[in-house]
Symmetry: none
Subunit: 189 residues, 4 copies
DNA sequence: GATGAATGAGCTTTCATTCAT
DNA sequence: CATGAATGAAAGCTCATTCAT
């Protein structure tokens, strides 16, 4: 994949795609994405080989955006509960601050266009977190359950929290304070 | 009345739509659905006014199918934990026995085509369960949290369980036995 | 063509077709015509072999309806001018009293669906009038021009009068009084 | 600008539409029009937003084509009769030289697809002629009748002349010589 | 490299007509 | 005979992608 001339245009296309997918799902047309990015229809295809490729890269981009919120401040030295809490809280913060990104990610994920290889690749930035999960299971701090299952539970609880807080802003605070203890009771050993 | 609308054909169309949506999401063409149902393209539209209407009715049909598994055997007289366990377990059983239905429901739900009124309507068959949740909160058996939030958590844990069991059959048994206690720890007061 | 069981249904269909064609032209669907006639979709086809046949018969029916207004009271013994005036005036009266019929006839006529044989057949009820035109030309009372041309002029002036009176009701009276003298000056020898 | 919209292609589409509408009326398919214009089906829609828009523009195009025949040579300084004769004669010439255009215009006009605003807009190129009509009425040269009525009469007589000359070529000359005096007797004061 | 006109396959939907009831 | 469900061939229109400019 050649280095495209303008990273700005690439980003503008990914941002436009995020909004378009958040609003219209994967039926959003490449033309509408290009228009939103203020770029010609054909230009989209010099940055992304096809619509499918655009969507794989959009998925990676959104997951990376989440990782960028969660991982740089990851407290490698804190205890398991605090590390988990950090990840959970930052996930929720990211979701509340990136409504389009979160919805786009959910739609993309449920649409069936994201390939397994892409999903795999998207886990990389979260490696430190995965390792922590495995250690916590080994140390008996977390439930002796498949790591993928526990991770999935964490993600789903976070998503539910974000969605609920988004839909019922007056309960947002209370729900956020409830959410992590709820998760921790669920998955701690 | 010449030839009455055939409930079998209607069902065949809903089943075909379930499979098609499970495989291809909402981009599944009406032509492919009709073909799968072994019915002419036009016939689909004598049973469902439009693709949109088909999808609303498919959503209701799938939710009803879930309710039919969960509610008839609902133990109205059992204690809260047992009633909750019943619903959760039956949900999981339904999901494992209806892979297409579950995936179709998830894709439909995330695609944005399901209208709020349809979602609302789909909750009706679960009324006894909703009432139980409210009572359990009032009695302090469940966490003092918004009922919609707790319900959502339950659904997400059930879905995660199904998905995980589906993808890793060798861990299925163990995961299922883990899942309800995990949920109950999470949401009980 | 077998005598259909119910002349009422046949008439109801022709009336419904008149309204439908007046409103939507020849694109009016057979289903909409049947619905308007309060008859099943298939019934239309027991009275008229096809949509095309329905339109041919509708054309004849409307022309006959015009003839029924014009010819029974035709003053065979009056002078040329009076006979012509009678036909012209009754034409206009029919048009003003049968807005749907007039518009349907015009749309049908301009649509290209009416076959020449049908047009030919529709002139029959007006034979006495045609003969009078020919006699008047021979006697030098009318312009020495092809009879079809003069007839066409008469029809177009009548139609223009009707349309104008319909669209500008406040000028209707004045226009009607203007119209026949205008026509007579045009075509008298 | 990549490849500019091609006026030739636009014209080819309008010409193709003219022929198609002349032959088949407004039921002519966009596919058949595109094929006739030797252009892809989708291309039609880059030049005309929809079939409806194509028809509005086709109406304007045909009226403009008529105006282009009639108006550039309009004898502004001649007397009323001569100016009227000019318009009438040129109208007939245009009709005889543009069989498809004339028929298409008539079918379009009678089909009900042409909107009032479009009709209104189409009168613009004939403004000088309209003003002359009004002046002639004021000066008592034309009948004291609504201008729209007189204009309509003129058009109808012209159309009848064209149609008759077209259908009976051997009478064409004679009919054309008859036609204007006939019109002038009809509408002069 | 950027542009957007051109392409044609594919989409949802309509509709004249048939025929089982 | 009346009914209206069933049919499948169009119809109008959209859209990912290509490529001349």
């Amino acid at each position: 994949m050649a280095r495209p001339l303008s990273p700005e245009k690439r980003l503008a296309l990914l941002l436009a795609a995020t909004q378009a997918v958040a609003e219209q799902g994967v039926l959003a047309s490449t033309a509408s994405i290009a228009r939103r990015a203020e770029v010609a229809e054909g230009t989209l295809f010099t940055y992304f080989e096809s619509k499918d490729v655009l969507f794989q890269e959009l998925y990676l981009h959104l997951k990376q955006s989440l990782a960028d919120r969660v991982m740089p401040s990851y407290p490698h030295a804190a205890d398991y509960r605090q590390r988990m809490r950090h990840v959970f809280d930052q996930y929720v913060v990211w979701g509340l601050n990136n409504a389009d990104g979160r919805v786009a990610l959910a739609r993309l994920s449920a649409s069936g266009v994201v390939r397994d290889a892409t999903r795999e690749q998207a886990t990389e930035p979260f490696l430190a977190f995965s390792r922590m999960m495995q250690d916590a299971i080994n140390d008996g701090v977390l439930l002796n359950a498949p790591i993928a299952f526990l991770t999935s539970i964490m993600e789903r609880v976070a998503e539910t929290t974000i969605e609920y807080a988004d839909k019922h802003p007056q309960d947002a605070e209370r729900t956020q304070q409830l959410a992590f203890p709820l998760l921790w009771r669920a998955i701690s050993g």
